[in-house]
Point group: C2
Chain length 201, copies 2
DNA sequence: GAATCTCCCTAACAATCGTTAGAGAGGCTT
DNA sequence: AAGCCTCTCTAACGATTGTTAGGGAGATTC
């Protein structure tokens, strides 16, 4: 890993735990194992580290959203169980590559902490935690409705319930305390129980 | 308002926006209109301000919980609509005195920010946002089930859905950006729509 | 072989941090 | 009147903050 990457990695870990302003340049450099002036070779100032992290996160989730669109666009196969697409989507992809991903997880924590005095971060936080997931699930369930798997009129409330349940669990298990295997399993189990009740039983 | 109260008020506003470590003693004193040494007459150090805020919040919600217990203990009147108690409880009391209360709201934001490097705050945060509300709603809906308003077997999932929906809305509207009238109304409308769909329609 | 570029260093800068010593003004009790 | 308590002030302390000037070692280019 390059020095620049190492700096961003250490900074993210510290920012997401203590907050941007509470972490000093010397804290970061000490952990990375470089002198302060070396950091200023790679970043023009402290704010630049934060901006670079946000930029990295932006392009990271842009990639994810593109892939989600690809999956969603595939026509729902008739005769298959109604939960096929949604479970594949929601369970496998979004959870693994987004909520359980260490980089995304720490970025969400960082944004949760910094949202209150940074307009840009607040907007990105709202988009990635509320707007985008809701829209993605809307697309999936509308697709299912068109394939006749669920009634058209139920779509809105099914999405609202699914989305709010997963959002609550995200705050409860994934953005709260350490991201341990135990917490991930607890999250996964509750999501599965919810899905099973909704679509399998 | 006493100087001590003024300090706590200003400190809470700043801590909840920028985080504990990012706010300096001089920031607080400047806003209050006193010199730094005066602050040290009222608090033994910076941490003492934070601890006092937590203590104040603790006794505040203890009072709330006591009142909630009182309301819940009243027997459900037969012949009344099934939503009576729950709506009265959930809508009026908890929302107004807890989620919409400026002091509680700022404390929740502060705890959201500080939970990651303070064990005590993390525990309090988990309790007041997840454990307590879930338990309160459980008590209310179990009461309703005993009165025959809803089937006993539905209680758990009704509570899970209600609780997760309100928790999601709390994060979306009340702990996110400024606590404006607009946001409070948006929160209230969505809760009401949910209740109406569940119990009235 | 000289020059340039990349990446790190030592050493310091003014500003700000949390905190404290000590004094003074006004009101209360003896 | 004397002494004490409450509350605020001025002024400073050592430590830490973000940042910069300038130099040096090693690889690459001309």
């Amino acid at each position: 890993m390059s020095t620049r990457d190492k700096i961003m990695d250490v900074a993210l870990n510290m920012f997401s735990e203590r907050g941007y302003e509470a972490v000093s340049i010397r804290d970061i450099c000490g952990e990375v194992g470089i002198k302060e002036s070396t950091l200023y070779y790679h970043f023009k100032n402290k704010k630049d580290i934060l901006d670079s992290l946000i930029e990295k996160f932006r392009s990271h989730i842009d990639g994810l959203l593109l892939h989600v669109d690809e999956i969603t666009e595939k026509p729902a196969k008739k005769g298959k169980k109604s939960d096929d697409i949604s479970l594949q989507m929601v369970d496998s992809y979004m959870i693994d590559s987004y909520l359980f991903d260490p980089f995304c997880n720490l970025m969400l924590r960082l944004m949760m902490i910094e949202q209150f005095h940074n307009e840009e971060i607040r907007a990105l936080y709202e988009k990635t935690l509320f707007t985008d997931p809701y829209e993605i699930q809307m697309n999936v369930f509308r697709k299912l409705a068109k394939a006749g798997a669920i009634p058209e009129k139920d779509v809105e409330w099914i999405v609202k319930e699914t989305h709010s349940y997963m959002t609550m669990l995200t705050f409860k298990y994934l953005l709260n305390g350490d991201l341990t295997e135990k917490r991930k399993k607890a999250y996964y189990k509750e999501v599965h129980d919810f899905m099973a009740r909704r679509f399998i039983a």
